[in-house]
Amino acid sequence: MINIFEVNETNKMIEQENFDVRTITIGVSLFDCIDSDLDVTCKKIYDKIYSYTKDQVKVGEEISKEMGIPIVNKRISVTPISLVGGSACKTPEDFVKIAKTLDQLAHDVGVNFIGGYSAIVSKNMTKADELLIRSIPKALAETELVCSSVNIGSTKTGMNMDAIKLMGEVVKETADLTADRDAIGCAKLVIFCNAPDDNPFMAGAFHGVTEGDAVINVGVSGPGVVLEALKHAHGKDFGELCEIIKKTAFKITRVGQLVAREASKRLNIPFGIVDLSLAPTPAIGDSIADVLQEMGLERVGAPGTTAALAMLNDQVKKGGIMASSYVGGLSGAFIPVSEDQGMIDAVNVGSLTLEKLEAMTCVCSVGLDMIAIPGDTSAATISGVIADEAAIGMINQKTTACRLIPVPGKKVGDLVEFGGLLGYAPIMPVNTFDCSEFVGRGGRIPAPIHSFKN
């Protein structure tokens, strides 16, 4: 029988250490919505998603109440729209119409975000892929809840440098079109290498082509819980440190698994995966940076940071993997700068740089995330940063991503405020030496030698 100490431990995690279920994400396949008529396509999309998600928010709130744990977000991911809209959309504006349909649906159902305004172009682009990509700036400027992602490379295919060049321009244009809101559009746009099919986290969630008609994926969050556990581990060696992180990750993930199973049962949608990621929020104490600092670093970014993060990431997986029957998505520690108070502080005191963050992304999920950069950064430079990050993913057979925000009119040292879970960020300096000749060459970077495993 459960005892009072166990009950208190769980409730302390929830009440004092910011433990929550970050998201219940329903993935919906839209392949059967394809039609050559745009209006018909939009109607089919709306009706199909609505039929699966109409009770999502209500059920999420019920479960939250019964378990006594916050379920912060309810989200939807859909089949990459470039595949769904290809037959009906002849111009970027046509694709924007689908984006608006998704936005309307998300508002009507009451979810926080809808992801999947996406294209998978890791080897090359179809006409439809290119139209969708070119429509992204307008789509993100004219909708509120739609999130977009583009997969520009993979270990198996290499890197699509034409798409990377294009994405540099798209990021810039998205920033310009949402300049009045501190380039918020860019916070809803992720550029991936090795994007997973079942990621429940935004802005990169989409419902992969390998998935069924609908699926429930759940993401948990608990940097605050890990932090609190580590506070009692001063002076202990790495063996003991790892044990503490594993045990904590196990407990956190078990709750994710429980919520996922319960939501699956009540909504009558199959359970997909639990994403083991440690996701920070701007709340004090709910920070990955603080966890790394608790291990003995003065500031995140100091020498030792990459090793500390590598260990944290690995132990979270080892603890979490036994707690859930199916693990997937991104599953690793997130290091978004604007959403993590400890990261913001480290940037402000000069400890954390873009280059160090890039090194950190080699050992954790996901990538250069929520990083505000000067508004005058060129499209070619942004493409160069995307290419660097994608190369890390391609060579190391892991997911990497970029969510860069070149804020128009802002320069290094200024602050931008995105609000809510997206937080705020100091503008970080970017290496300004030119890479346009490299980025502009065109074509593909071939798949690496170790991808040929057959």
């Binding site: 009950v7 208190n8 769980t10 409730n11 109440k65 378990m67 709750v255």
Partner: protein
Amino acid sequence: MKKTIITVVGKDTVGIIAKVCTYLAEKNVNILDISQTIVSEYFNMMMIVDANNSSVSFAELSDELDGLGKEIGVSIKAQTEDIFDCMHRI
């Protein structure tokens, strides 16, 4: 049988258990187990109850207990046993 865990935490005062038990009896909720400690003048109680035959829904029970807690000046939470089981039992 699905069990519910009720926790009461707050400054100790006269009649906390009486008030919570009276409320539960009124709603036909059966108390299976009570454990209670006082840590530095703070009252800390856990009840395991069977609310399957309760005259009110789980949401109402939870909200009304929350309201009762505010009256007494303590925090009262009702949660299904599942969350504790999944976290602390393999």
